[in-house]
Amino acid sequence: MKINRRRFLLSSAVVGGGVLIGYSALKPSNHRRANAELATGGEHYVTSFIKIEPNNAITVYVPHSEMGQGVHTSLPMMAADELDAAWEDIIVEQAPAIDLFANGDLVKGFAGEFGLPGFLTGIVNASAVSIAELMNLQTTGGSSSVRFTGETAMRTAGAAARQMLIECAANRWSVARDDCSTELGHVQHNASGRSLSYGELAADAALLEPPENVTLKDPSQFTIMGKAISRVDIPAKVDGTANYGIDAHSEDMLYAAIRLAPVFGTKLVSVDAGDVLSRRGVKRIIELEDSVAVVADSYWRAKEALKGVKSQFESSDADTTSSADLFAGFERSLAEDKNSKVLEIGDAEDAMDSASDVIEGNYTVPYLAHAAMEPMNCTVHLHDGIVEVWTSTQDALGIKGRVAKIAGVAEDDAIFHHCYLGGGFGRRLPFNWNVIDHATLIAKEFDVPVKTVMSREDDMQQDYYRPAVASNFKAAFDANGVVQAWHNRFTGPIQTPGASHIPYAIPNKSIRVVDGDTHVPIAAWRSVDHSQQTFFTESFVDEIAHRSGKNPYQFRMEMLADHPRHRKVLEVAAEAAGYGENLPEGHALGIAVQESFGSIVAEVAEVSLDTNNRPVIHKVTCAIDCGWAVNPDTVEAQVESGIIYGLTAALYGEITIENGRVAQNNFPDYEMVRMADAPEIDVHIVESGEKLGGLGEPSTPPIAAAVSNGLYILTGQRVRELPLKNHDFSRSTPIAQV
């Protein structure tokens, strides 16, 4: 194996002396296992996640993937703070892909929040694994790392380690534990002024059982959490040394370019390789059930050669299907109430019948691709009865198991090499297996590493998409013009329970989902169902506000009397945005608010039209209540990121189906927000002190509605279909603002 291991710093095994402490190993069985399986030489593992070496170097193992959300910094901050370590002494390591470092706290966290999320229930339904087995994941998704793994595992591990180190020092000095304190990686005996470093105590601590109960710090005691700490992964990302899955490299490596069945779910029938095998560097043509691949000694040669390979795929009922057909199917499903499932029930239909006034709106959104900057790829090397894998993934353990199964080796004989992710956004979650499976099947034919890379075109046309959704909304008003009923029918499936819920004090709500299944594969896409539902609900609430003759901000404030956290973020965002004050000529403000993944976000978008009547988003003012902020700079960065991601979808995002396949193939026809379109973003963190909320996703949902609501004020046109690029705003009549 010629792969230069020093290039894969993230794939560290557990090596080095000292003590390892972690929440997941508080159970004696894990504690014994760690010693039996991982300890070498004089090492003592108390548990997992935190290792203290004699020289006072403290390593924190992070069981989540780093995809730019900053968990390689924020999670160690939480452990280090509870431990009372000096941040400068902290070494951050990616936890190995072994079940000792599984992050089942995520599952427990979600189960407590609203039952299992779709991306996990999908696994349950498909493979009949038990909930207990779901604990054995290293999934990074659902904006969960800090609020679940951080709060339950990292802080507890740090606090437990601190207590154990105090106990060792107190024993050594024969003093009471209560007379000792900790600071900057040392235990001190206050009366005598004696001090021992954690490193000097580590060997003793290794002999202790971790405490069953630990006391976490009060926020007033934080020394690291709450500070804007520089991210540990950034230096490698400015000098070209950060290794992503696609960067796996060795001298003897081969490369595969692949063509998957263009119509989802169809199989390969025949291949005519022409003269391709005689071309320079080409090694093999590999036919798989649903695809054909060319393997060569460089990716470019493989990709060029693939152009010369003719392939035929079986015909399918979907061969003539277009987006128009799919949306017509959605309309039928809505009209027939097909397989409908009640989510919330009230006397909304009665209220509709007796209403003085009913308004109605049909909202739709298209499919969306994830379009992570790093195209999907996976490197697999089968040799000597083992399989090694390098890939950018949101679930290292899940990928390891999947590759081992397809390679036909025991999971214990699989080695996963961690890599940074060039974007995740849900595309790299378990269950979205397409490049992983293919890379493994291709690599089975060779005894050298084979890197399978999807071109941008493959990546865009062979994604698992944000679903296209159609909906029907109605609202009923009484004789006094007060809204009495809310009706939402939309096409499923549901991936995020609760996303269609609204917090507003409307007496009767009827929310129901109908069948929306198509042949197009779908998956979680940043903020999952909130991405479409918030566009729908916050736009329709705006419609209700205008119909009620109320200012959209004031209307929301009145209807959220029982939701002080929602009111607070609305108030902060509105005030910071200058809501109600004079704006530049031709500008308008739109507002929206949504709770998702435990955080509440209000956004105000300042919009205008350019000389070609295209929307311009000048500024987005955002207030987020995420409980409190572990790393405020990361909070701001994630909020900025989520807004831009959602804005790309609002302005441009549209995957269409023609002849059963995706019509778009690269950035020119799946356009992105770039510098010229990117608004100024002003982020305000509202520290309510409530439970930690998620950050990777919650700022994405409100932006489409905030922009559309602003455009309504500016143009009098209510946008009920995204993306905005398809709208003609040339005949605009600004509405009179209340």
Partner: protein
């Protein structure tokens, strides 16, 4: 035989003249700091300097850079430092990227930094319009507001 210098080191590669520079760097030389994003010069992830000018290497055949001086992200600081032994390990742009915590996933940032370095070399105090028209790289993490702040900090300095 393709001959060019990469970060000051001469390379002689027995490759097809039409092979894009991107793949010569990544697969032939194992220099993976330069990234593959779209393959059609749309996203800018593959941006390198050819004789000091930013080019998108995914559509630049090696025949077009015969005899040229190529600078990649790996050599940006050392090429700028030249023979000065006390020069910092990072270029001013790279340091600004750390100071403003610009990267998130970071995948596009090699190309972004190369594009911005080239812009600032020819236009040390770019207006917003200059930035918008010359920095057209795609960043899916939406680092644009921080990219703009980092550029402004360099322009003021």
């Amino acid at each position: 035989m393709a001959t060019f210098k990469v970060n000051g080191v001469e390379q002689n590669l027995d490759i097809e003249p039409e092979m894009p520079l991107l793949w010569a760097l990544r697969d032939e030389l194992g220099m993976t700091g330069t990234k593959f994003g779209c393959g059609i010069a749309s996203c800018g992830a593959c941006t390198v300097h050819v004789n000091g000018n930013a080019v998108r290497s995914c559509v630049t055949p090696v025949s077009a850079v015969e005899g040229a001086q190529i600078t990649t992200i790996e050599g940006l600081a050392s090429v700028a430092a030249g023979a000065n032994p006390s020069a910092p390990d990072l270029s001013a742009v790279q340091q600004a990227w750390i100071d403003h915590q610009v990267p998130q996933c970071g995948y596009c940032q090699s190309g972004m930094i190369m594009a911005v370095s080239s812009l600032l070399a020819s236009n040390p105090n770019p207006s917003d319009a200059d930035i918008d028209s010359s920095i057209t790289n795609v960043c899916r993490c939406g680092s644009y507001p921080r990219v703009r702040k980092a550029i402004r900090s360099l322009a003021i300095a």
